[in-house]
């Protein structure tokens, strides 16, 4: 079943990408084309085939000592250096819960 503009608006909200003006209709057309292109993959949902999630099998979490890595640790200035808005030692953001919170 084709995705509607309402569906695509919901996906955009989840993806945190505001679609403006003609973008919603264009994105809806693209999404339906792309999903159609993906249809052949549905034939591969085979019960007797195991999925491969990664080209290197047998990966496991790599642990290191729970200690600061002096060579790689950023200073506060480095950590904040690429942020558009900071205050003191912190990143600055607008209200998280909205004005009414």
């Amino acid at each position: 079943m084709a995705l509607t503009e309402d569906d695509v608006r919901g996906i955009a909200d989840y993806a945190r990408i505001a679609l403006e003006g003609d973008e919603l209709a264009e994105m809806c057309a693209y999404m339906n084309d792309a999903v159609e292109m993906l249809e052949p993959i549905l034939a591969y949902n085979l019960p007797d085939v195991d999925p491969t999630f990664h080209p290197i099998g047998g990966l496991s979490n790599v642990m290191r000592d729970d200690a600061p890595d002096a060579a790689r640790a950023f200073t506060i200035d480095e950590a904040l250096g690429n942020a558009a808005s900071t205050r003191g030692r912190s990143f600055r953001v607008p209200s998280i819960l909205g004005e009414e919170a």
Binding site: M27, Y44, I56, N61, G81
Partner: protein
């Protein structure tokens, strides 16, 4: 004295080592070539004369002090702009990261610098590596040096074009679905995607974490082999948990005799819809050249590769959506001003920071990972991945390497392919390797009979047998050397055997004199 573009990376390093010229002279020549050529090519987003001259001065000082020089001492290098290099911005050709200052240097870049390379700039790309043309760069397109009305391929189009135009001897690119091998084919240069895990991804902006791989561009297979040795020489990178130990023996493979070895060809690939007759003939010619060099041609099948494009456009966007969720305008990247809430700031920063294709891929990924849809598509794609990997394993029971086109056609014009899903098909011959993880190399084999534009053939090897790509790639380069005689002219005929494909004729010798 000669212009820099007549020398390979190996020859530049040898000349610096022997004192024929200094690394500083080489760096100045490279910067001069960029000055003379890049207004037309537009391969670079940022040129870094200070970093280049500092690095060159260090090489010259080491030589003056009698210290042994590293293997690529003084060789000019372009770095794709999704790789961090301290002292440069890393923009991913996106407004989102237009002002992002690299906080450190990626392992792959650091290893090239450790090998003596001189960084001359950051190369253009499709935004966040989403594309096959480099036209989706937020800043400017890059022009194919063989015909500036055409694209250089993508997403590593700036890296490929910088090498093809003779601005640098080596460049780094990244390949998530063909982004090294396809632009190498369009631009007439050698480009190699090693096996996933062979080269560290630490410090490279992530797109598809199970698909991304870094690799080199050069004008000869030998130069690419030297770059590969530099990239793996430090061993496994502890900062990338997927990186693996790979012995640095690529340059040793250049002179391998391929007589008696088996080259697999896939008949179904040569009859595929969309493959142009000139590319088909060029790749068939490449197969016969390898046969004439003593290799045995065998036919193999890869029956599940029909699923590769669909599997890729499930896995790639899903991983891209997860990776690019970090761009929310808080810690780095574009931030929409004057937003009342964090949610509005995130949505508008992402809406205005990302270009159209970056939004499309993330939207598709968000949909594919949503409840109910995930089970249907994502598991199917990962099962197809199992079958594709098994297909390759069976093929390599019968063949040492496989030979196939790198792209179905030669370079297209800017704007010629506007439908994004049609653009995706230009990766039809490259994408399955990112899914299975094994390596491939594009080697230019001549000019297309109809288009007069470069055609590349792709060699594919089993996982972690990438030195075979160098062995067969060098053999193919030697076998196809005569194809370039008409481009080089009578005086230089026969040089293809030593130098591979020539610099694009419109740019050869333009600036870059080695004073």
């Amino acid at each position: 004295m000669a212009t820099l573009d007549t020398l390979t990376a190996r020859q530049i390093a040898a000349g610096v080592r022997d004192g024929a010229f200094s690394a500083t002279e080489v760096a100045r020549a490279a910067l001069d070539a960029i000055q003379a050529r890049d207004a037309e090519v537009q391969a670079f987003l940022q040129v870094t004369p200070e970093l280049a001259l500092e690095a060159a001065a260090r090489v010259d000082a080491a030589r003056a002090a009698g210290e042994p020089l590293p293997p690529l001492a003084g060789v000019p290098l372009a770095v794709k702009d999704n790789m961090n290099l301290a002292g440069t911005r890393t923009t991913c050709a996106s407004r989102m990261l237009e002002h992002y200052e690299s906080p450190y240097t990626a392992t792959c870049v650091a290893r090239m610098l450790d090998a003596g390379c001189v960084p001359v700039g950051k190369a253009n790309m499709d935004e966040f590596a989403f594309g096959s043309s480099t036209d989706s760069s937020a800043f400017h397109p890059t022009n194919n040096p063989w015909d500036t009305a055409r694209v250089p391929g993508g997403s590593s189009g700036g890296s490929a074009a910088a090498v093809a135009a003779g601005e640098v001897a080596l460049a780094l690119g990244s390949d998530t679905g063909g982004s090294i091998r396809q632009p190498a084919s369009f631009s007439g240069v050698v480009g190699m995607k090693p096996t996933y895990g062979a080269v560290s991804r630490y410090g490279v902006v992530a797109f598809g974490s199970s698909l991304d791989q870094v690799g080199p561009f050069g004008r000869t297979v030998e130069d690419v082999a030297l770059a590969m040795d530099a990239l793996v020489a430090g061993g496994r990178d502890p900062y990338d948990s997927t990186s693996q130990d790979v012995p640095p023996r690529f340059a040793d493979a250049v002179d391998t005799d391929i007589a008696g070895m088996r080259v697999g060809v896939i008949p179904a690939f040569m009859d595929a819809d969309g493959l142009t007759p000139e590319v088909r003939r060029a790749v068939e010619g490449a197969a016969h050249s390898l046969e004439a060099a003593g290799a045995e041609l065998v036919e193999v099948e890869l029956p599940h590769l029909d699923a590769a494009i669909a599997a890729y456009y499930v896995i790639g966007p899903a991983e891209a959506f997860s990776n690019l969720a970090r761009f929310d305008g808080i810690r780095y990247g574009y931030r929409e001003p004057d937003c009342a809430t964090l949610a509005a700031q995130s949505s508008l920063s992402r809406a205005h920071g990302f270009g159209a294709e970056a939004k499309r891929r993330q939207m598709l990924g968000a949909y594919l990972l949503s409840s109910g849809v995930y089970d249907k598509y994502y598991y199917a794609a990962q099962k197809a991945r199992t079958l594709i990997t098994e297909d390759y394993a069976r093929a390599f029971d019968r063949a040492d390497v496989l030979l196939m086109p790198a792209a179905p056609r030669t370079a297209f014009k800017h704007g010629e392919i506007s439908d994004p899903t049609q653009m995706y098909l230009s990766d039809m011959y490259t994408i399955s390797l990112n899914i299975a993880g094994n390596g491939g190399i594009t080697v230019p084999v001549g000019l297309g009979e109809e288009s007069g534009l470069p055609v590349g053939a792709q060699l594919v090897a089993p996982a972690f047998a990438d030195e075979r790509l160098i062995a067969f790639g060098a053999a193919l380069e030697r076998a196809c050397a005569g194809a370039w005689d008409a481009v080089r002219g009578a005086a230089a005929a026969g040089e293809g055997a030593r130098f591979g494909a020539p610099v694009a004729p419109a740019f050869a010798g333009k600036g870059g004199e080695l004073a």
